[in-house]
Each structure stands twice: as C-alpha cells, then as structure tokens.
C-alpha cells in the first residue's frame, strides 16, 4: 500500500467526434447555432413537436474506465495503436487536460515529457532556451544552474551554447531539448514517444539515461511504438485498445499480444482436419510450432536462446526421399535464410508412411531483434516436387532484454542487419611494438 506511486480509477475522457479535440468556434458559429436552433425549436413547437433540437455532434470516449496501479520504481510501458488513448492518458496524468469521469491519485512530483523542446524559441541562445525549457518543465532556477554543465555536456553542444538555436542543426536542437528533459528529477516521469530523437548514438545515450532513471527508483510511464525499447526498458506494459485496458502484465507478454494483433504472429498452427491440411496425396502438414528448448510454445524469444521450429506432417505414401524445408523472412520481407532437414538418419533415405516431426534448431545469438516469419515446405527430391508449401505459417518475435551479453553489447541504438551473430572477437594493440609509432606518440606527448 505504501509503495504506490500512481493509482488510476475508472478514468474516462470524452471528446466530440470529428477530431480528437473540440474544435473552436467563431462567434458567428455560436450565433448561428443559437439563432438556428431556437428557430428550429420554435418551428417544432409550431408543428406540434416539442423537445430540444438534436445535439449537434456526437461524442466518443478516448479513454473509458481505465484503472491500474503503479508501484514506486516501476517502469511501465503503455502501448497500443494510434488512437488507443495512450496520449490522452498521459495528458490527463500530466494535468494538461481534465478527465470526464474517474480520478487518478498521484503520490509525488510529476514530470511529464510529452514533447521535447517545448517552448524553445529560435531567437534565443542554447543557454537561454535551456533555462526557459527547464523552467517550463518544472525545474527551479538553482536546479538548472547546478546541472547546467552536465546538461550541456550531455547534449554535446558546448561550443554552441551561446548561439541562437535557429542556427543549430536539427540534431543539435533535439539533443539540447532532450538533454534538458533527461535531467528532470521528478518522482514520477511520464514520457511520450520521444526516443525517436537524434542519431543512433544519441538514442542509445537517452535509453541509458532512461534506464538510470528506472534504477534510481523513479517511476516511469513510457509511451512508445518501439517494441524492442519497451521490452528492454519496461518490466511491465499496459496495452490500450479503443480507450480501454486490453492487457496489463509483463512487458514481453503484452508486447506479444500487441504484435499478434498487429502482424498476426502465431507461434503455433495446427490443421486438425487431415482433409483440409496443406499437402497432397503424398504428405499433409499437421502443425508448425515455435518452441523453446524446454518444449514450451512461444512467440517471443530471447535473442540469446535457441529456438526450435517443429514441422509435424503425415507421410501418406511411403518410399519417397523427402526434404522438409524452412524459409525465414523478416518483417521487411527479406529472406533471412533457408534451411533444409539435415538429420543424417534420414538423409537421402526414403521415408515410410507415418506421423513425422522434423525440428530445426536456430542457435541463440544469431537472429536480429524483430519478427521472423516462417514459410515451411516439403519437397521430394527425385523428381523435385513441392508437396507442402504454406507461406507465413507461423511467426515469432525476437527480443533483446538489453542485459549486455547479446551481440548488441553496450550499443542501445537500432541494429538494422537481418542477422546478428555473436562473433568471437580478439583485439590487440601493437603500438609499443612499432618503433615509428612509439616515437610519434612520444612527440605527441611533448
């Protein structure tokens, strides 16, 4: 009870339909509304119908009966499609807009970061904007002065601190803006999709800074569409859909629900009716599964762990050499790799009729983060025929928990390669061995 940071009870927010905001009216609109509706009303009365004119504009609930509790020190991700109510939730919690119903209790000072660089003025210098933005985000002047050097160093703009920000590159601008925000020290931090900032190296720095925030026992609510970042930073996630809480739990589970509904990742696919199963007279596919070493079916896989892909099929006519085969595609539709059944026991040997299971094991530390779609096939070799072929039969999500022992190492930014094998590295230094370099170094020291 004592360690609650945030309690939300049946929080709801209603908006007029048409846009997510109530449109402002002109005086003329109001005037016509009033005049027209009173005439209508009068007209209705004359025609013997009473009552009010129908309300202009329908309403919708951007948020409806949302309830949850967040403990002190928890880092919670809020995910959902556009329009699911994520931003509305953060806006209510940061007191920018009022709820229509329900309430939220907040224990502690709230800092919200719905945008970086709010209130920045292009004519003012970096130094001036730093103070202004700090004050807008709720920092005290002494606090800003105390952290000034740290913020400037974090933003890496020491040389340009007295230049008007209109002369900054967009990268510098965003770095300064985020640096101020990253140095906020509230007990509860609300962050809306601001990590899409700056270059990859700076993103990593921001991610690290945010992780620090979590480790200092600060409570963070973090809205993002960046699922790898959510699983990396948050232990818990809340999935919103249509203004309601769809799921609330460990982030990898919630992220997988979200991704399932989005790209249809399915860890298992079964065909219960043999007559409907893919295949022909020779063989029929019965199921495809993604599983861990322990045999647990899963669609979210730790990047470091091996993954088994089962292909279960009935061989209806024995006596053929069969070749189970997998294609692996990533989200971008790039064929990452292909693999064929290599088991020496059945290689180049005709297989008798029966229920077969072929499993391909993908070693840990080979794939990149993201979704992998599997296209299983079954070929005969002589002659080559395609007996079974099911595009995107199953899919799974590879996540990196960011513990530092994957091939990612200490790099927090995006890695766009299709594969990410953990290679063996050796690094040597031979500067002292080379007399020419040694003299150069000695001169440089002087």
């Amino acid at each position: 009870m004592g360690d609650i940071a945030l309690r939300v009870e049946d929080l709801s927010k209603q908006y007029r339909i048409g846009s997510s905001r109530e449109a402002y009216k002109t005086l003329r609109d109001t005037f016509t509304d009033v005049v027209v509706s009173s005439f209508r009303r009068a007209g209705k009365l004359l025609h013997g119908r009473s009552g009010r004119a129908p309300e202009l504009g329908e309403t919708f609930w951007a948020l409806k009966d949302v309830s949850f509790e967040i403990k002190r020190g928890e880092v919670v991700g809020i995910i959902g499609y556009n329009g699911a109510g994520k931003s509305t939730l953060l806006k209510i919690l940061s007191r920018i807009t009022e709820p229509t119903e329900g309430y939220a209790d907040i224990y502690g000072r709230v800092g919200s970061l719905l945008e970086v660089g709010t209130g920045f003025h292009p004519e003012l210098t970096g130094r001036e904007n730093l103070y202004l933005n700090g004050a807008i985000l709720g920092m005290k002047r002494v606090e800003i002065t105390r952290k000034f050097d740290e913020i400037v160093a974090f933003a890496e703009i020491e040389r340009f601190i007295d230049t008007p920000v209109k002369h900054y590159s967009s990268g510098m601008y965003m770095r300064l803006a985020f640096a101020v925000a990253a140095h906020l020290e509230p007990e509860i931090l609300l962050v809306d999709e601001v990590l899409a900032v700056g270059d990859a190296r700076f993103q990593k720095k921001c991610l690290n800074k945010m992780q620090d925030v979590g480790q200092q026992g600060r409570t963070v609510l973090f809205v993002s569409h960046n699922m790898p970042a959510i699983t990396r930073l948050c232990e818990r996630a809340i999935l919103l859909e249509g203004g309601r809480v769809l799921q609330d739990g460990p982030s990898h589970q919630v992220v997988s629900t979200y991704l399932n509904s989005q790209v249809g990742t399915m860890a298992v696919r079964e065909w219960t009716d043999p007559a409907q199963a893919p295949g022909g007279e020779l063989a029929r596919l019965r199921s495809v599964r993604v599983r861990t070493e322990a045999g647990q079916i899963t669609d979210v896989v730790d990047i470091r762990r091996p993954i088994g892909i089962d292909m279960e099929y009935d061989v209806l006519k024995g006596g053929y050499v069969l070749l189970p085969y997998f294609h692996f595609y990533n989200e971008a539709g790039i064929l990452a790799f292909e693999a064929s059944d290599h088991d020496p026991t059945w290689r180049r040997r005709p297989r008798p009729a029966g229920r077969w299971v072929s499993t391909a094991w993908i070693p840990g530390n080979l794939l990149s983060e993201g979704t992998l779609l599997i296209w299983p096939c079954l070929f005969t070799l002589d002659p080559v025929t395609v007996e079974i072929s099911v595009r995107d039969a199953v899919a799974f999500q590879v996540v990196d928990s960011m513990d530092g022992d994957s091939a990612r190492g200490d790099w927090g930014g995006p890695i766009t390669s299709v594969m990410r094998p953990l290679l063996k590295w050796t690094t040597q230094c031979s500067v002292d061995g080379d007399p020419a370099v040694a003299t150069m170094n000695a001169k440089a020291k002087l």
Partner: protein, 295 residues
C-alpha cells in the same frame, strides 16, 4: 491482551497507520465542476516560470526586430507627435496649462502599457497553444506574463518622458510617489480585461480581432488627447467607471502638476478594476479545463 496505559479506542488511533507515501504530496486528478478556486498559492510556486515567460517575451521582442528597444519609444512618441499636430495645433484643444506634447505624452505612456498588456494577454494564450497542449502549469501565468512584460517598454518610454520634462523644464511634484500605485491600477485593469478576453479568445478566435477596435474606442473614452475638464459634469462622474481615467489624470497630476488630482472617484475606479480582475480570474479558471482540448 491490553497494552498498558492504553484504552482500546485510543490505542487504535495511536497505532501506526501505514500512510501511503506520507512524505510525498498526493495529487488527485478528477473532473472539476463549475467555478473553481484561483489556486494563487500554486501560481506563486510557479513564479520562476512567470519570470522566465516575461524574460522570454522581452528578450525575443528586442532580439527579433531591427529597431529593438526603439519600438518601445517610437510608438508613444509618434502618437504624441500626431496628437500634437492635429489636436494641439489644429484643433487647439486645451491642455490643462502644460505644453500639449508633454500633456499627451504623459498620458500615452501609461495608456500604451495598458493597451499593449490587454492585447498581448488576449492573444498570448492562443499563441502559446503548443505550450498549453504539452505542459502543465497554471495557465494564469500566460496572461500575467504578457501584461508584465510591458513593464520594460513602459520604463523606456518613461525615460523619454523624463527627457521631455527636462526639455520643457517641468519639475515633478512629490505626488510622483503615487506613480507606482497608479501603474498598479493600470496593470490591474489591463490584466482584468485581458483575462476575460484571453479566456473568451480560446473559445472564439475572433475575439482577438475585436481588441484593436476596443482599444481605439477606449482611447477616446479616456482623456488622453483632451483634458477631462472639457466634459460637462454628469459625464465627468460617469468617467469613474473607466479606471484608466484616474491613471491618466493621476500621471499628469503627479508629474506635470496639473489640477487633476484623483478624487474619491479613483477609489471607485479601483473597485471596478479589482472587480474586473477577480471576475476575470474566476472566469479564466472556469474555462481553463477546456483550453488544452480547444486551443
């Protein structure tokens, strides 16, 4: 199992209740209904933001324009020149026994402060939409900062007034000590009207277009280009409804020594100004919850 020296109920009361985060402030976010408190204490807590908003306004205004600080002087000065030509020279309007240029300029300085504050307060809230939609702070800070930032312009224009007094060899009276109070009255009126208009401007964006018209109308309803002594009695008393009359006449009285000492009417004006300010504040707070959704 009775604890020594403790009766039952008292014991219960004294038991350590697990207070949820006793040290931390608890904030309840819930829908508000109707009229809400002004929350002046919170506004005070945000005084540094207020300071930075004023500071930004001033800094940006002087950085962005080619003439910079000169604008603060040019506007009242040239208005004075125009007034002197048409009202002073051509229309031969009396000026309470002081040279017409300084007569009108001494009135224009507080007037410009008032008018500028009113129009800035009205438009600033909508102009700060990005701020209002992204950050929480007491929204009252925006119109207050808008009016306060006019102080710098006022100070510059006032320096010119002192220069003109030197030129015309006008010696200020001890009544000049009342100037801060007169300025406060101008500030109160400006902010009071500004609060009403800025909150309305969020709902109806055309309110800001009515401000120049309102300003012009108000300018002629205030004895700036002419002395109030021109008016017959019943109108003269009605003048008390307009707090700027007291301000303008007070300025002339305090600096130029004219015979326009603020009488008991100014107390009435001050009440009007205060009523405008308080009602404006409450109206603003009432509308405030819709700002982020509408602006």
């Amino acid at each position: 199992m009775q604890t020594q020296g403790c009766t039952g109920p008292r014991h219960v009361m004294a038991a350590p209740v697990p207070m949820p985060a006793a040290r931390l402030p608890v904030l309840r976010i819930a829908p508000s209904k109707g009229w809400v408190a002004l929350k002046l204490r919170e506004l005070w807590e945000y005084r540094e933001l207020l300071y930075f908003l004023v500071w930004r306004d001033v800094k940006v205004r002087y950085k962005q324009t080619a003439l910079g600080a000169a604008w603060a002087i040019i506007q009242p000065f040239f208005t004075m020149v125009v007034f002197s030509l048409f009202f002073g020279q051509l229309a031969k309007i009396p000026s309470d026994g002081v040279p017409y240029p300084i007569f009108s300029y001494a009135a224009l300085v507080p007037w410009m402060f008032f008018a500028h504050g009113m129009s800035q307060a009205t438009s600033k809230l909508v102009g700060s939409a990005d701020l209002v939609k992204k950050v929480y702070f007491p929204r009252l800070a925006i119109p207050i900062a808008a009016v306060l930032s006019g102080i710098v312009d006022f100070a510059l224009a006032f320096l010119v007034l002192l220069g003109m007094m030197l030129y015309y060899s006008v010696i200020p009276t001890f009544n000049a000590l009342w100037l801060p109070l007169l300025l406060l009255l101008a500030f109160t009126t400006s902010l009071g009207v500004g609060l009403w208009l800025s909150a309305m401007n969020v709902q109806y964006h055309d309110v800001q277009y009515t401000v120049p018209f309102l300003t012009q109308f108000w300018l002629f309803a205030t004895p700036i280009a002419y002395p109030s002594s021109l008016l017959p009695e019943p109108w003269h008393t009605l003048y008390g409804l307009n707090p700027m009359v007291g301000v303008v006449e007070g300025f002339r009285w305090a600096l130029l020594g004219t015979d326009t000492a603020p009488g008991p009417v100014i107390a009435f004006s001050a009440c009007i100004a205060l009523a405008l300010l308080i009602s404006g504040g409450f109206y603003f707070r009432r509308m405030e919850k819709t700002f982020a959704d509408v602006v």
